[in-house]
């Protein structure tokens, strides 16, 4: 039995520990990389494999190579629970840790990205929102610290439409076709709408919009409308979490063919299709990196991380789509820091220095081969003006057991997307009173 005094002492201890917890262990020659993750909360099941992929890759770099050119990576996770306020709290908690402060933040949530854009810009810490976040942040002249390679939502929408057009027999065949967009009714889900509307005007297909309220467990009415009234030729989905598997089940219930149902890259993981069971066979989604554990980098992860008992998750879940996305995220971060070390010297770097690394980032075919990721993703090159890279996506299809690549890589329609990015970014700059900076390459 704990008496009152012990209880009070315990409480005081907890509070005191809370106060001193901000003091990190002093290590000098290391690079600190914060890791905003969500292993709990409504999207925890999706956040977990991603976080494990990130952790395993950093551990791999430390164990196999002894760090980035000898500079060990120290990383610390902070659980955001996919909550914007917690995300901001985590950011503030971690931004000054380590000998040089945070190298780069990957907020892992479109909402948190939006909340951090100004803070990070003021603190001179790059934000790397890989394939999510604010699409027009690709315009580096207005957003000097925000990066969203390999492709943002707008680019992805054009790539998916390219795939649809190819299935129909060409872009001119899109005329008169019905395309429905089922989207999470939030900042994230709304991102592709302007692009799709633009393409609607250009190619003459008919777009219908179907918002789904968070968390997306109730979609009967939406799918009845799609299945009975709208009867689209294709359905695209910008969903997340439990919304995805619910949509697949409801689509199957109204008899919509899975082959014509394409999710974006956040609607195409094992977590989305497995709960839907056989209904999900044939479902397609976009992706910008490989699925499965068949690349040399995975063998290294098994050898240097899991065999040493350092694995963050379960060995058999290595290679899941979201795990691989975590690996991709960590890989690009490490390569950016490596590039920054070429510019500023091999030592722990500050956020501003890592930013230069991102802007000079050039992951070539050869480099991917060295990394054991040949064919895992395609080369990526960023610049001062282009913070996105316009990377390609491919379409994968679920066969009930695993994801299979069923298409070529599709590069986005840059000629459509880039003017929109420019217009939107300049509007933001005007609203905020930012003068776009000059970039040497134009």
């Amino acid at each position: 039995m704990i008496d009152r005094r012990t209880g009070l002492a315990l409480m005081a201890g907890v509070v005191a520990a809370g106060l001193v917890a901000t003091a990190a262990p002093a290590q000098e020659n290391v690079q600190f990389i914060p890791s905003l993750v969500y292993r709990t909360g409504p999207y925890g099941p999706n956040g977990e494999p991603f976080a494990n992929g990130v952790a395993d890759y950093y551990n791999l770099i430390n164990e196999r190579d002894g760090g980035i050119n000898g500079i060990k990576i120290v990383f610390e996770e902070c659980d955001t629970q996919y909550n914007n306020d917690k995300g901001v709290e985590c950011y503030e908690r971690l931004k000054n840790k380590g000998p040089t402060g945070a190298a780069v933040f990957s907020p892992l949530s479109t909402g948190i990205t939006y909340a951090l854009i100004e803070r990070a810009t003021a603190d001179k810490i790059p934000i790397f929102s890989m394939g999510y976040g604010r699409s027009d942040a690709a315009y580096g002249k207005v957003f000097p610290y925000i990066f969203n390679p390999p492709a943002n939502y707008w680019s992805q929408a054009t790539s998916i439409i390219k795939y649809v057009a190819e299935q129909e027999g060409g872009l001119d065949k899109l005329k008169g076709k019905e395309i429905a967009l089922v989207y999470h009714d939030s900042a994230y889900g709304k991102e592709p709408i302007p692009t799709l509307q633009k393409l609607e005007q250009m190619y003459g297909f008919k777009l219908s919009l179907h918002p789904v309220a968070h968390p997306g467990l109730e979609q009967k009415a939406t799918w009845l409308k799609i299945g009975r009234r709208v009867r689209p030729d294709w359905v695209l989905m910008w969903g997340w979490g439990v919304m995805n598997s619910t949509a697949i089940k409801e689509a199957a219930a109204v008899g919509f063919p899975m082959e014509r149902f394409i999710g974006n890259w956040w609607s195409g993981s094992e977590n989305d299709v497995k709960p839907a069971g056989d209904a999900a066979v044939g479902y397609k989604s976009a992706n910008f990196h490989g699925a499965g554990a068949n690349w040399p980098v995975h063998q290294d992860i098994f050898k240097y991380v899991y065999d040493k008992g350092l694995g963050a998750g379960q060995r058999e879940r290595v290679g899941e789509v979201l795990y691989n996305r975590g690996v991709t995220n960590a890989m690009i971060v490490v390569e950016a820091i490596r590039t920054a070390q070429k510019i500023h010297g091999v030592r722990p770097l500050t956020g501003a220095e890592v930013r230069d690394g991102f802007e000079a980032l050039n992951i070539t075919e050869e480099r991917l081969k060295e990394l054991g990721m040949e064919g895992f993703m395609l080369p990526l090159k960023l610049s001062c003006a282009d913070h996105e890279g316009g990377g390609p996506v491919y379409i994968q299809q679920w066969d009930g057991q695993k994801w299979n690549k069923v298409s070529d890589w599709y590069y986005p329609m840059r000629d459509v997307v880039w003017p929109m990015i420019e217009e939107s970014a300049l509007k933001y700059a005007k609203e905020k009173g930012i003068t776009p900076r000059d970039c040497p390459q134009g």
Binding site: V15, E48, C78, G111, I117, E191, K432, G433
Partner: protein, 358 residues
């Protein structure tokens, strides 16, 4: 011995009607204000000011607004999030449409717009009471968020529906946006919260506040003694929404800097309601205690658990944090159903008799 009225004579009506009649209370408040205004900006790190103090103050303000409605006037509301969103979007529209407008004016106008919306959604309270009213205000919550999410005009046609607060000045000093320093933002919010708290405290001691409490305690009796339910209830809705609107505007402009309508979802309404229930219904102090409990404690717990060597298990720390938090809420509700403010009240009464209780 040290904390009692004995020996403190009041020689004027003003002294007799002061908010804090005890000298010790006045000194205590001054110390707290000195800490908030002088010590915090000097000592506290940016992390403390921007992620602990700012949300704490803004949540306390929202709780204050809800407490006026629920704690003082007895009208249960689940629309706090919707009203905060109204304030945020109204401030955004005003600030972007009139770039030269002083931010204080923007805040007041946003508050007034929210007050008007609050009156509209308060109309059902004239007919329905209790849980039924809670459901009616729930409609406000969902309708308002749907509106801001649906109509692109509110977000100035932003593709994602996110509004991003521009830099605006108050009396020539930038207080929002990236040009304002964290300390300025903190001090600005602190001034707003101090002034509004003082106003609320005084309102509850005026005729209007007494009419709210009369309605709360027994509406029929109040009507019989000559209090008009229409003005009493609607004024409570108006004042409450005014406070919530300003809290929402501060949330968008001073704290996060970028919000979408979903940031003010039903969860926010519940959080604020929990704050006033845990803090103490019908008290001003309770809002601060409740906000501290709901906003600060989870951050402390999380830091503490990580500090105690749980860096490797952030998921476990998050789960533990939620469990401890839940247990503490239940514990406090059992030990003191009238809220944390009541504990302070009891402590004060005990202090008066200390060290010779009879």
């Amino acid at each position: 011995m040290i904390y009692r009225e004995t020996g403190q004579f009041k020689t004027s009506y003003a002294a007799d009607q002061a908010i804090l009649r005890l000298r010790e209370d006045r000194i205590g408040l001054l110390v707290i204000l000195a800490i908030a205004y002088v010590v915090m900006p000097l000592v506290a790190s940016e992390y403390w000011l921007s992620t602990i103090m700012l949300p704490f103050l803004i949540y306390a303000l929202a709780a204050l607004g809800l407490n006026i409605l629920t704690g003082y006037a007895g009208q249960i509301s689940l629309g706090t999030g919707g009203f905060m969103a109204t304030g945020a979007f109204a401030a955004y529209k005003l600030a972007t449409a009139f770039p030269g407008l002083d931010f204080v004016v923007v805040l007041v106008l946003a508050g007034l717009i929210t007050a008007f919306v609050g009156i509209l959604f308060g109309l059902p309270s004239l007919r329905i009471k209790g849980f039924y009213l809670a459901v009616a205000t729930l409609a406000a919550q969902f309708f308002l968020l749907w509106l801001y999410n649906k109509i692109p005009w509110f977000t100035n046609y932003s593709a994602s529906g996110v509004i991003s607060a521009p830099t605006r000045t108050a009396f020539g000093i930038p207080v929002t946006g990236f040009e304002a320093s964290v300390t300025t933002k903190y001090l600005f919010v602190l001034v707003v919260v101090t002034l509004l708290s003082l106003a609320a405290k005084n309102m509850t001691r005026l005729e209007v506040g007494r009419s709210w409490m009369a309605i709360r305690d027994m509406d029929i009796a109040a009507e019989i003694i000559g209090i008009r339910p229409l003005t009493a209830k609607l004024s409570a809705f108006a004042v409450s929404s005014f406070y919530c609107g300003i809290a929402g505007a501060l949330w968008a402009f001073s704290y996060t800097g970028a919000v979408e309508a979903l940031a003010f979802d039903i969860g926010v309404s519940f959080r604020v309601l929990f704050m006033i229930i845990i803090g103490g219904l019908g008290t001003i102090l309770g809002n601060y205690l409740g906000a501290a409990f709901i906003v600060l404690l989870p951050i402390f717990l999380n830091n503490a658990l990580l500090g105690l060597g749980m860096q490797e298990a952030v998921a476990m720390a998050s789960h533990l944090e939620a469990m401890i938090m839940g247990a503490l809420i239940v514990f406090f509700l059992i030990v003191e159903p009238h809220g944390l403010a009541r504990l302070w009240q009891i402590l004060k009464e005990k202090l008066r008799k200390w060290p010779f209780p009879y």
